[in-house]
Symmetry: C2
Subunit: 457 residues, 2 copies
Amino acid sequence: MDTRQSSLKFASENKDYFLNGLDELIRIPSISTNPENAVDVKKAAQFLADKLKSLGVEHVKVHSTKLHPIITGEYLHAGSNQPTILIYGHYDVQPVDPIELWDRSPFQPATVGEYHFARGASDMKGQLWSTISAVESIIKTGEFPVNIKFVFEGEEEIGSLHFLNFVEENKELLRSTVCLNPDAGMVNANTPTIVYGLRGLAYFELKVFGPAHDLHSGSFGGVIHNPAQVMAEFIAGLHDDQNRITLPDFYKSVRPLSTEERSELARLNLGDEVYLQQTSVPALWGEKGYTSLERTGARPTLEINGLLSGFTGEGSKTIIPAWAMAKISTRLVPDQDPEEVHQQFIAYLEKHMPKTVKYELKMLSGGKPSISDTKSAESLAFAKALQSVWGTAPIYKREGGSISVVADLQESLGIDSILSGFGLPDDNIHAPNERLHLPTWYKGIDSLIHFFFNVKK
Amino acid sequence: MDTRQSSLKFASENKDYFLNGLDELIRIPSISTNPENAVDVKKAAQFLADKLKSLGVEHVKVHSTKLHPIITGEYLHAGSNQPTILIYGHYDVQPVDPIELWDRSPFQPATVGEYHFARGASDMKGQLWSTISAVESIIKTGEFPVNIKFVFEGEEEIGSLHFLNFVEENKELLRSTVCLNPDAGMVNANTPTIVYGLRGLAYFELKVFGPAHDLHSGSFGGVIHNPAQVMAEFIAGLHDDQNRITLPDFYKSVRPLSTEERSELARLNLGDEVYLQQTSVPALWGEKGYTSLERTGARPTLEINGLLSGFTGEGSKTIIPAWAMAKISTRLVPDQDPEEVHQQFIAYLEKHMPKTVKYELKMLSGGKPSISDTKSAESLAFAKALQSVWGTAPIYKREGGSISVVADLQESLGIDSILSGFGLPDDNIHAPNERLHLPTWYKGIDSLIHFFFNVKK
């Protein structure tokens, strides 16, 4: 049996062991946005560092940042003529509210049929653990065919606040040929997918202030420009009748879709009925003149992520609220820039917010969009690995989500990322009842093993 | 000393006693909208029933309704040739949130300078207790000059849900010449005020439903009509560029202001600077073509009382919310009808809500607007009482708030209400740090004593 085959055998014989390891990681509620979970985020980092050490990974280090730690390590035994693969992962997860919509406790993983339910099961503790499991399968059965390095962060879900700075300050430590980033997903369980384009993000919190405190709506209704109404009017103005975003010059830096790209995306055959089925909405919506897949992947969007004002409890309270708050984010495409969008937002507010209120805008996070080379030797090696396991060539797509680290690594280290992963569109990531499709996950481990062998020169 | 004078003397010598009694009532947190306070509402009812009994009021009864009890009692010793005054009051209060904006505990009353701070101090435990104190001052010192009846309810702040039904079923018990309702207030501490017009109320909760659960805004941003955005767009459409409400036929039943009324209202000299000072907003707003006082008193308005959707905690969460909720209420003027407005709202929703979402509208409460006769013997007796204490004739105004019991009594018993009271515009009713201006309150007790003597035939 050659080394590849013994690694695959190890993987096929240790499925429960891999899942148990993942569950240990899942049980640590490492929600990066909640200050009260900071200790858990730290605990998850230490757990991963210990795991890497136990595999024989060298120079494992937990680096402090101003918020959550970054873990690095390396296993460089393949010789300098072999490529070095930088394995990226994030061990933080999204919050769990609305908690009442979960069918079971988010941090007590449970398998039901082919699915494994828990916060982070898919995004991305599961993906991270599939990489570790593939690495373990190779290390435990033979020589590692290429050099590998690790970089795991705990702030991806809050915009990778300190990642770029860390990379800038540790260029030598992280120097590598390409980054392997399994934080994307598949189009469906039968279609391995490589993501070559990612949207960027600019996330804002807007507050509108009216009266000094809540007022009686009978006594003052008719003289006050209600802040909740002002917020609604402001938000309503952010899209025009073509459902395009009205921020000034917002589309100026948007790279147009080429005819070739449009036909490649059309080939995916991801029609409206798929989105309708996945979301249960009565009808789809979006920028006119583009298909659903183009709109989610290759066109920028603006979303209201949250709204709060006045009395929201049971029953009725007749007040004019003192203030209103909205969380508003934009997904960006090449060559838009989050800070440029921030400036456009400020300019728009100055022009459109009425003089009847005061307001405050905060930018909470930002990340640049990116596009990667799909013809590199490493990317082709990954494509071949997927084909070996699924028996079909992967499809190439642009992803609507934002992974700013991809742009950060491109900018700072000059390396591309191979973006893939084994999550599915109905994994409920960022939502209640997040889940992982186990058969796909195990296939993912196999394909990662293939990749490490394929990428050897 | 005649009876009037001994009553006034009793009142002037028992100020602390009156305030202590009020505080006992205030300390019971009778928030009618909160199910967990139902027991307190009941407790407050029993407290008042016991108080009336202790004064010698007869046939005191605590009537159960489907929610909070109604108290009745009578003191009919003036002979059948004398008028019977029905004394109305409500012993429930508004919720206290946002609790963090209170400078002290809302149900632990405290006097600071001339003000007495507590939830209900002004609206309307203070007003109710001023009436009880006036009655006590007369009963304890002599014969009562007229017949009196009492009706106290515990659901005014949630729309007097069961009051009309109770009145319908107890017409004989409540039969009287006129209702005395001290639930209105004064224009300022030097200007006694009689309110002859009240706005009605129609209060709604609207929910907009999009995807089955929260979605990742990266994966689905661009194909989903975000429910928070739909809600914002819907709300934005509810006013036109004249700041008029766009519900179909909304203004059809609105009784136009006569030239005479407009000049009487103008005489009040309640200019924009008063509203600006009371609310601290940068600029006022409202329906074009009307003064501020006209807009708050004699024109209908529509208010957003609350908004909730998606992620509203600290930091950022990149979701498309599954739903959005708004509390929306309208203040109505004669001859609008809450149920008509309900139907207009339904029609408007059917026409304007996009097919990309589902929605649900609930009417939470409704009350009719009303106008009373200012020339009746009883109303004139009350005006004279105010003049005796303040040394100036009262002004007559329309009130922006809603007191549906006034319309209920008019409709069911055929009696007018004398609407007045001794609260001030800056009492912060329905808001944090509610307060009562004590010198005005004591004057109020004196004027109520005068009224009972004045109204005797």
